[in-house]
Amino acid sequence: MNFNDELPEESWLDDQAGPIVRPYVMTRGRTEPIRGDFDLISLIASIRPVGAKEVGLNPEHLAIVRLCQEPLSVAEVAAHLDLPAGTIRVLLGDLLDRGYVTVQDPQPEVDMRDRRMYEAVLDGLRAL
């Protein structure tokens, strides 16, 4: 049976309802992730595929796990799924909690003095 057939998608995917109702339903009204603190540029990578028996995840969770087989930033995940970054953070919190994804935090501010980082970035830019 196709899971998607059971969902009353039309009722909340139409243009009027889209931007507000859809993310709200997807996160079941939550605005904060249960785990993690995701910057727009935190990199997300999937660790393992979602098992068939896993309950409580929606199609967007699964889409994130598929997308992040190649590491992507929170901003990229949000853009690809056409959802607000805040919604993506909530979904990522669920996935982090269940051990489906790993998150790499961005360059911490203290390392902004790391000369090797600057040299590597400059070399990379010159080679573009």
Partner: protein, 200 residues
């Protein structure tokens, strides 16, 4: 810092470190054009909910009034080697968003302020903001066709910027020009941040 989360992260494959750069400036100054010129991906768009904490206390309710605004940002990506990936955010130009910028600029390595000499004043809010915040920034003057070619010194004078702060002319449509802008920014950030005391 959440060490538990970090531990879990470390057990998996090695990911590059992401670095955030901002491209700011007035409306229609060429921010998205510059991002597109240097990005390895087609620029993407994301929406972020920003909180206006500057409104302070709501007298009626007696609680902190938190107004929120959704802003859309264009962004691109540049992978540099195996270890780093740059994310370049073209940030919304409207002046009324400036007080909400802390969430966006947190952790940014630096910012490019794009200027259009026909409307130089449009970049004042960005200059003020990054000066106040201490985020390293440079000014890139986008040379639209037919616009009067200001000398860099005139722009410096008009914006009241000190001599060590890099200002350069660019063509936001050209990749080579965009590269030069980013290299100038990263070099400048290296100088500025290198002089900072260890505890930020």
């Amino acid at each position: 810092m959440d060490y538990e989360r970090s531990d879990r992260g470390r057990s998996a494959k090695k990911l590059p470190t992401a670095i955030k750069l901002l491209v700011a400036g007035g409306f229609g100054v060429g921010k998205t054009t510059l991002v597109s010129a240097v990005s390895e991906i087609r620029p993407l768009r994301t929406e972020e909910l920003l909180t206006d904490r500057s409104l302070g206390i709501d007298d009626v309710a007696g609680v902190e009034a938190k107004n929120t605004t959704t802003v859309a940002m264009d962004f691109g990506r540049i992978s540099v080697g195996e270890d780093y990936v740059l994310y370049l955010f073209g940030t919304p130009g409207q002046e009324r968003f400036w007080f909400m910028w802390d969430e966006l600029s947190a952790g940014a390595l630096g910012a490019v302020i794009l200027a259009d000499t026909r409307r130089l004043a449009d970049c004042f809010p960005a200059v003020d903001y990054f000066e106040r915040r201490g985020t390293p920034f440079i000014v890139a003057v986008n040379c639209f066709d037919g616009a009067r070619q200001y000398e860099v010194d005139e722009v410096r004078l008009a914006l009241g910027l000190p001599a060590p702060l890099p200002i350069l002319l660019c063509d936001a449509r050209r990749r080579e020009s965009g590269k030069e802008v980013l290299i100038t920014l990263v070099k400048h950030a290296m100088e500025v941040n290198g002089k900072r005391p260890a505890s930020v």
